[in-house]
Each structure stands twice: as C-alpha cells, then as structure tokens.
C-alpha cells in the first residue's frame, strides 16, 4: 500500500462540539479497513471548534488528524460542508472515505464524490475486506434486495448506516490537529434553526429500544360502529410516555393525516415507515392495527424482535413476519398494557 494514500474517517461535529455515535461507528469501520489494507488511517473533522472532538478520538491511532473549522462550518449546509469535505479528502489523499450516513453528510457526500471524480455508496450496512479488496453491502429497492458490491474507482466514499456497526471506543488523548484551509464563496444559504413537530409531541426517537407501529385501524369504526380517535390518541401517547418508544405509522395512516382528516394529530409523514418511509433500527417492534405489506416487510427490515396485535388471525402480512401475532382488539390490549406500565 502506497503510504501517501490513506483511509479517511470523515466526521462532522454535533452541536455540543463532540462526535456523535454515528461518527464513532464510521471511525471504527475506517479503522478496520485501514488495518486490513495496511494503510494509514486519517481522521477528518468538520465543525466550529474541533479541539474537543480531536481529543475524544485521540487514541484511535490516526496517522493524521485534519480539520476544517470555523463558525461557517458549524452549520449543516451544502456549500460549506461540501467544500470542507472536499478539502479534507484531497489533503488526506484518501482512497476510501468512510462517513456516517447522518442527514448532514447525506446532503453532501454524493456531490463531494462527483467533485473528486470518485464514487459513493450510501446506506451501507456491512463493509468487508477480502484479499485486499473492499466490498460493501447495501439494500436496493427500499430494503427488498441486498447486494454486495466493490468498486475500482477511487476515491470511494462509503456512507455507513447509523446503528449498523459498533461504535469505536477508546480513551481521550491530546493529538496535533492539522488545519485544512477552505475558501468559501459568498454564502447564499443560512440555517435559521430547527423546528420540532407542530404538536410539540416528540414521537420519533431513533435511539429507542422499542418501535410502536400504528396502523390505520386505530382510526376505523370500532364494534360500536363509531370511531374512537381521541381514545386511540390517549392510548398511543400513554404507551410512548411510559416506554419512551419511538412511533412509526403505516402509509395509510399518515396519508389520512396529510389529507386533513380528524385523525391522530401527532402522526405526520415523518413517522411513516415502509416503502416510502423510513426503515428504522430498533431492537424490538410492536405493530398495532397494521394490515399491509409496508409496515411488516419493508419497515421492519431492521427490527430484531417483532410482535403484532391484529384482529385478523390470517393476516398474511403479519404471519411469517412477526415472532408473535396476538389476535385481539388493540384498544383493549393497549389499555391493559398502559395500566400495567403505569
């Protein structure tokens, strides 16, 4: 391996100046590739003030720590992030660049690959090195088909899916940081803030152990031939408060919300899982009132332990996809669950 080229772990800082868990996961992947190829590892940092973050990963064994810092690089913005990433990749002479698939990096990494004349693979769930050749596994057709691919083009930017790898762990240590100069054009975009859901109810928790999936059945007529949306709202929110679970919704349910019907007010398209929604990673998942392919197949791809409450014992989407299928009324069961959790 030419010592002039390197494996680069590229990371942006969190708002508090530290490196988040996804960045540490990417660092561990980069460390493994570098070790397997016998190539030097370089760490690249982007943020307002990188000193604390450099110290956080000081014992990772990086041959160099490169940084683009300054107030312009505190904001998550294409023009500044792309310029910073490009400059670090060039300074590191990186053959392979590993970064976390955060929303901030996902906005720019493909553009950076284009600038560098390289290639990019995103949502990577596994990285392997066999006989000096790096390969990655990722999903195609929205988590339906898994493929393993290697590329000849360099640099190769690999955005690893958060939660799919172990995070790097090590002691903090002081390391020299090499500043990388970047000249930005006149900035036309300014980040003005972050907006939480209008309802004020935080229902999406990516780090939660448990995912509760609500289907459109919650808004349908019940045995008394009336809908019980307010009761459903109380049961779902009560469960989320008690368990700190994350909330996912089927497409049919979030579409109802988008059409302005009087349904669950905290349920938006951001909660949607499945074909046109997210495929979140949680250890456990509990589906309630779901009657379609998307929650049970695509949306559950990365849920390890799965249970479902469904009135239809023959629901083809649940059978074979969940570990346990409870044939029962979700209203009655969740009421009892919340009582026991209280």
């Amino acid at each position: 391996m030419d010592p002039a080229v390197s494996i680069l772990s590229l990371a942006h800082l969190e708002p508090d100046g530290s490196l988040g868990k996804p960045a540490l996961e990417a660092l561990r992947v980069a460390r493994q590739i570098a070790d397997s190829l016998g190539a030097p590892l370089v760490a690249g940092l982007v943020g307002a003030d990188v000193e604390a973050a450099a110290r956080q990963i000081g014992s990772c064994g990086a041959a160099r720590v490169l940084a683009v810092s300054g107030t312009e690089f505190a904001q998550s913005r294409y023009v500044s992030d792309a310029a910073a990433a490009e400059a670090i990749c060039r300074a590191a002479s990186a053959l392979v660049v590993v970064a976390a698939g955060t929303s901030r990096w996902m906005r720019v990494l493909a553009g950076v690959a284009e600038r560098l004349g390289g290639r990019v693979d995103t949502h990577v769930t596994r990285v392997g090195v066999v006989n000096g050749s790096v390969s990655v596994a990722r999903w195609y057709y929205r988590q339906r088909i898994e493929g393993t691919v290697s590329r000849a083009e360099r640099p190769w930017i690999i955005a690893v899916e958060p939660g799919a790898h172990e995070a790097w762990r090590g002691a903090a240590a002081s390391v020299p940081v090499e500043p990388v100069p970047v000249s930005l054009p006149a900035l036309r975009t300014r980040v003005t803030g972050v907006r939480s859901p209008a309802s004020g109810e935080q229902t999406i928790r990516p780090d939660a152990e448990l995912l509760l999936v609500a289907g459109a059945g919650w808004t349908k007529k019940q045995p008394d031939l009336r809908t019980h949306v307010q009761e459903a709202e109380g049961l779902i929110l009560g469960f989320l408060h008690a368990t700190q679970a994350s909330l996912g919704g089927s497409k049919s349910l979030v579409d109802l919300s988008g059409e302005g019907q009087d349904v669950l007010p905290f349920m938006t398209h951001l909660n949607q899982i499945g074909q046109t929604g997210a495929s979140p990673r949680h250890r456990k998942g509990l589906a309630t009132c779901c009657h379609g392919e998307e929650p049970h197949v695509v949306g559950w791809r990365f849920i390890a332990e799965r249970r479902a409450i469904n009135l239809n014992p023959n629901c083809g989407w649940a059978q074979g996809k969940t570990d346990v299928l409870y044939v029962a009324d979700a209203f009655e069961v969740m009421k009892k669950v919340n009582q026991r959790l209280a």
């Binding site: 294409y78 023009v79 792309a82 929303s103 901030r104 996902m106 906005r107 720019v108 493909a110 553009g111 690959a113 284009e114 600038r115 290639r119 990019v120 693979d121 995103t122 949502h123 990722r138 195609y140 057709y141 929205r142 988590q143 898994e146 493929g147 691919v149 590329r151 000849a152 003005t192 972050v194 907006r195 859901p197 928790r205 990516p206 059409e259 398209h269 951001l270 456990k284 509990l286 392919e293 332990e305 249970r307 409450i309 649940a318 074979g320 996809k321 969940t322 570990d323 299928l325 409870y326 044939v327 029962a328 009324d329 069961v333 969740m334 009892k336 669950v337 009582q339 026991r340 959790l341």
Partner: protein, 266 residues
C-alpha cells in the same frame, strides 16, 4: 419571482410487485423487469406535485419533467402522470434499474437539462426525490447539481415558502423527526423532496390531453443513454425473512398485556 423548475424523476416497479434479482452479463437486474408494472418514483412524484404547485403560485413559471427510463415503460407511466399536473417531458431512453451507477445517471440527466431550449439557469430550480425507490442512495440529484454548478442544495425537503423578497424558507428532514430550517437567497437551487405536504392531485383528463400533445414527440426524440452498473456486484439476493410466527388466539387482553409488558422489560 418566476422559476424554471426541472423535476428529475425516474420510474420504479409498482411497490406491490414481487421483485426477484437476477445476474446478467452486465450486472444485476430484476427478473422480467420490462414486464413489471411501473409507477413514477414516489418521492419524485411528490417533487413534481410540489413543482406544479409552486409554478401555479408564481408568475411566468414553467415545469419540465426529465426522466431516464426505457422509452416504452416511460410512455405507459406518462399516461397516468400526464393527468395530474401540467409539464413538458424531456425523455432519456436508458435503464431505470436500481443497480446502475448514480454518477452515470446524473451525467445523462445534467446533459439533458443543459440542452433544454429556453431554459434560464439563473431562474433554475432542480427538483427530484431525495432518494428513489430503486437505487435508494440519495446521490443522483446532488451529482446533477454539481454538474450544473449549483451549490445551494437541500435534501429531505418537506416545504418551501417563497418570501416577498424572493428568498426561500426551506424545511429539510433531520434526525429525530425534526426539520432544519434554512433561508436561501433564491435560485438556482437543488431540492430533493421527501413527501412534502401536498396530497396527490386528482386525475384531470383535459390536462392529460394537453400534456399528451408534447409527450409523444418528446418520447420519440428521446436520446439513448448507456448507464453502467454501479460497480462489480458479488451477489444480489432477497434475504429469507420468513419467521415462525406464534399465533396467540385465546388469551384475554389482560393476559396479552402481561406478556407484552414482560417482553418490553426484558
């Protein structure tokens, strides 16, 4: 403020179809790919509806739909899409496979955009889905933007609001179900849309007839583009997902609740 809005949108197999990968001489593909019913990529479809909505609100706007897909399949999909919103089609005849390279697709799309007669790039907004339902990489649109020299880019967009001074307020999805709010000075910009906030427009047969007048010539003029596979594939497979489901029929709600709570607490 008037805009020239170019929507990049591919076609994908209908989500309800069973997909089976097969390895071919030039890389992987889908079994009977040309026989599978196709739809406009869902997120790109949202981008098209948002583009039409924005064009309706502002004076002197125009919407183009640039699509890279096999010509025959594209024609079938356009029969439905044409009834939704007004647009002018720019067709590129090439593979719509999810296993092709984003960079090659971006190159073909950017070339087609540059060649649009009368396009004012100072007023240009490039729209598309933030990810497709095929490659699902979130890469193509950024690369198109880079090739067009556009460095104000936004991904996972759910809303755009034009201020009286022509600036945009843009909401992008970030972690934790939140939105990052950005203020952009104006075009040119690239917006990769998530679901947005608009419902799918109802079919309008009259609009469909109007669109079809330009659709068919555009399809006939479609240039052929060779899009290579995205690297060397060692394998592609549908993983076995069948689980041995325990169906519980005879427990009371309270007993089920007890079992669920114990499971949650494990």
């Amino acid at each position: 403020m008037s805009y020239h809005i170019v929507v990049c949108a591919g076609i994908v197999p209908d989500p309800l179809q069973t997909l089976e990968p097969v390895m071919g001489a030039t890389g992987p593909g889908l079994k009977n790919e040309l026989m599978l019913p196709a739809i406009l990529d869902p997120w790109a479809g949202h981008a098209l509806f948002e583009a039409a909505h924005l064009a309706k609100q502002q004076p002197d706007c125009k919407v183009w739909l640039v699509s890279l897909a096999p010509k025959a399949k594209l024609q079938q999909v356009m029969m439905k899409v044409a009834q939704k919103v007004p647009f002018e089609l720019v067709a590129i005849d090439g593979s719509a496979s999810g296993f092709t390279d984003a960079s090659a697709a971006a190159s073909a799309l950017a070339d087609a955009i540059v060649a649009i007669p009368g396009l004012d790039r100072s007023r240009l907004l490039v729209f598309g889905g933030w990810e497709s339902a095929s490659r699902a990489a979130g890469a193509t649109l950024q690369m198109v933007g880079e090739r067009l020299g556009i460095t104000d880019q936004f991904q996972g967009v759910d809303a755009i609001a034009v201020g009286p001074d022509g600036t945009f307020e843009i909401l992008e999805r970030i972690e934790g179900g939140r939105h990052q709010v950005s203020l952009c000075a104006g075009p040119p910009a690239v917006l990769g849309w998530a679901t947005g906030r608009l419902a799918e427009p109802p079919n309008n047969p009259q609009l469909g007839m109007t669109n079809m007048r330009t659709l068919m010539p555009a399809l006939q003029k479609a240039k052929r583009a060779a899009i290579a596979a995205a690297g060397a594939f060692a394998n592609v497979a549908v993983p076995s997902q069948r689980r041995d489901t325990r169906v519980v029929r005879d427990l009371s709600p309270d007993a089920i609740a007890l079992e669920i709570v114990e499971w949650i607490r494990q």
